[in-house]
């Protein structure tokens, strides 16, 4: 019973934290949906740890918690992979921006040089 209270409370805190992040616009919606989904599952399993036992036994896994552990690790791996992918994309985008800035700076330098020449002559 004590364990249920602990896991349930943790899940509630987790959900509250995500909700707060979304409310303050710190999380993009696509991530918010993902994490709220995760929070709900964690809450459900926190309150009813034995709920997945039947599914686990059907898969040949000893109990529901082990099954959750397995899926949890897989899920985290996928999330990490997704973040690496996002980071690569962002680096590509910032690279283009850096190039644009360099070219704009050059154009500005040239323009101010030309203005100086014109005002000098």
């Amino acid at each position: 019973m004590n364990l249920t209270i602990l896991t349930g409370a943790t899940a509630l805190l987790f959900l509250g934290f995500i909700f707060e992040l979304v409310r303050r616009r710190r999380l993009r919606e696509k991530y918010a949906v993902l994490w709220i989904f995760v929070g709900v599952i964690v809450l459900g399993l926190g309150l009813f740890p034995t709920a997945l036992n039947h599914v686990a036994i059907a898969f040949g896994v000893a109990n529901g918690v082990s099954l959750v552990l397995f899926f949890g690790v897989m899920f985290l791996l996928l999330v990490c992979l997704h973040l690496s992918w996002e980071a690569s994309r962002l680096e590509d985008e910032t690279r283009v921006l850096a190039e644009e800035i360099a070219l704009l700076r050059l154009r500005m330098d040239e323009q101010s040089e030309r203005t100086e020449e014109r005002s000098a002559s």
Binding site: I101, A102, L103, L106, R114
Partner: protein, 259 residues
């Protein structure tokens, strides 16, 4: 800017001369050539490198891509008479080169030549590179091809041998120095590299070669002697050399399987 205008005038004059039936002043005169010098904190050597290039090759324009330097490399380059573009932060050689090719494409250059800022590439070889472009799209100024006495040992050497072997097969011609940063390319490849140029280490040399070859462009090399770097020395630690070998394998493998 004045340099660009100067070269444009030169180009037009030369073209007019050819059209008028006058004696052609050699292929170099009608082509607009840009030397791209990627530079990261090279303020101490960049000035003399530019001076040497302009002394040896009055018909080229020099673009220095300042790759996020903190020592005023761009200012020194401008003082020396080059056009300098400043990246806001360090991207690596590949990042600097894509910007250089973009500039070359936007300004309509026929030939773009990469020359390192540390003075190891001798601009005296540039006319040979340009001449070789009449038969290929990309020409590498290569060590180990008879000229010069540059030597490497250990895993770094194995990596270079492996890369040369594979790329020579792909190119159907002998390429002895695939990681050389001294290379020239023509208009078509300028257009390709302006949109696509890898930033990863070794990607800027090896992967670009593989891509060019897979797209059916001809790649060749001419032998050059490289000089000692004016500043700094390449690292000789065995661990780093092993790491280099690993990265060489990875880069080559990815370059071969990537779409």
């Amino acid at each position: 800017m004045t340099d660009t205008l100067h070269a444009e005038e030169l180009g037009t004059v030369a073209e007019a001369a050819v059209e008028g039936g006058a004696v052609e002043a050699g292929p170099r005169r009608t082509q607009r050539v840009l030397i791209i010098v990627p530079a990261w904190n090279e303020a101490e050597s960049i000035g003399s490198v530019i001076a040497e290039i302009e002394g040896a090759l009055p018909f080229v324009d020099v673009l220095v891509v300042d790759d996020g330097s903190t020592d005023g490399t761009a200012a020194v380059a401008q003082q020396a008479g080059a056009v300098a573009v400043r990246l806001p932060y360090n991207l690596g050689v590949g990042g600097a080169m894509r910007l250089g090719y973009r500039y070359a494409r936007d300004h309509g250059y026929d030939v773009a030549i990469q020359v390192d800022a540390d003075g190891q590439h001798d601009p005296a070889y540039v006319p040979k590179l340009i001449d070789a472009l009449s038969a290929s799209s990309l020409v590498i100024g290569a060590r180990f091809a008879g000229e010069g006495d540059y030597r490497v040992r250990g895993p770094r050497r194995w990596a270079m041998t492996m890369l040369s072997w594979v790329l020579s097969r792909l190119a159907r011609t002998k390429l002895t120095d695939t990681t050389s940063g001294f290379r020239a390319c023509n208009r078509e490849l300028i257009a390709l590299f302006a949109d696509w140029y890898p930033v990863e280490y070794l990607g800027d040399t090896v992967e670009t070669l593989v891509r060019a070859l897979r797209l059916g462009y001809r790649v060749s090399q001419i032998p050059v002697a490289m000089r000692q770097r004016q500043m700094g020395t390449p690292s000789q630690s065995p661990l780093k050399a092993m790491l280099y070998l690993g990265r060489a394998f990875l880069t080559l493998f990815l370059a071969l399987v990537r779409r």
